[in-house]
């Protein structure tokens, strides 16, 4: 089975056996999602690329000892949150950049994507942290309820309840 068709678990197993291409495939599969999440979480979203790179470097060092108690994406997601929190703590003491660098989008949709990103940031900014996570993963990243629950470390029912509360708040914001 080609790396592109293999599951995350299988890619990690291949990487643990020394297949570097399997790790490349894992990076290509999750880099966009983690990059977007980092763009939302980071105070200075221009550092999203650095954060994503750091997540995968930690994965490179940590996945050889991965024991499959969770999904690889859950591991990557939590590492990404950790990295972004660390960067945000550092950034509070540094001046913010005035100009945003271009993201990895094409010229046609770059402006729309940046606009949407700013919209998403403003929408979730006022939500409580848990609801913010649910909205980002379930609505904007289109993760399944199960994936969202595993990433957040809670039950699927909790995800649904948080999502309902968040929708009510978001409806108020969108109707303003």
């Amino acid at each position: 089975m080609a790396n592109e068709d293999a599951s995350d678990d299988e890619l990690v197993r291949r990487f643990q056996r020394g297949d570097a291409l399997a790790f490349d495939a894992l990076v290509r599969r999750h880099q966009d999602r983690l990059y977007r999440l980092a763009s939302v979480w980071l105070i200075d979203r221009s550092r999203a690329e650095d954060a994503t790179q750091e997540v995968f470097l930690r994965a490179y060092r940590g996945l050889p000892r991965f024991r499959f108690r969770a999904q690889p994406f859950t591991w990557l997601y939590r590492t990404a949150r950790l990295v972004c929190n660390e960067m945000n703590r550092q950034r509070r003491f540094e001046p913010m950049p005035t100009e945003l660098p271009a993201a990895g989008t094409t010229a046609d949709n770059a402006a729309d994507a940046q606009l949407a990103l700013a919209h998403v940031r403003s929408l979730v900014a006022d939500l409580p942290p848990r609801q913010r996570e649910v909205v980002l993963l379930r609505i904007f990243e289109e993760c399944s309820v199960r994936e969202t629950a595993m990433a957040m470390g809670c039950r699927e029912g909790t995800v649904k309840a948080l999502l309902n509360k968040a929708r009510t708040q978001l409806a108020g914001r969108l109707n303003e």
Partner: protein
């Protein structure tokens, strides 16, 4: 689907157009290659750390146990502390017990004679003078 859901869906579609820079995978690969160490690297680092720790521990103990000058015994104290008849180990002969140290001579005392007799005391505690009768008897 409600209006809110449609709005969120539209925003989400645009948001998902945001992609990671195409160079990111290559950068991760380069970074990972730099991160990778030869297998012996960890062993070498561990050994070096172990040697440094051992030397530090030995030096610390040695410095801690070093006697200060005030506690070094003098030769006289050593001589006093030595046993009277020490055992000496001689190669081929085994332990040899040294002879007793000769006793120091006692200070000479004048021989006792009548003139040097200590004064006798009677029951009342008074010193009695030597009797002249006794001198005559001896003569």
């Amino acid at each position: 689907m409600t209006d809110v859901d449609q709005d969120l869906d539209a925003i989400g579609r645009q948001y998902r157009q945001l992609k990671a820079p195409p160079t990111l995978a290559a950068q991760v690969r380069d970074g990972a290659a730099k991160t990778a160490r030869p297998p012996a690297f960890g062993l070498a680092v561990g050994l070096a750390a172990g040697v440094v720790a051992s030397v530090t521990a030995v030096l610390t103990v040695a410095l801690w146990m070093q006697p200060d000058k005030a506690s070094i015994p003098t030769m006289t104290e050593i001589a006093r502390a030595m046993p009277e008849r020490p055992n000496v180990s001689v190669p081929g002969l085994g332990n040899i017990r040294l002879p007793d140290r000769p006793a120091l001579p006692k200070p000479e005392q004048p021989p006792l004679d009548d003139n040097n007799l200590p004064p006798a005391t009677d029951e009342a505690g008074t010193t009695a003078l030597p009797s002249t009768d006794a001198k005559e008897k001896n003569a």
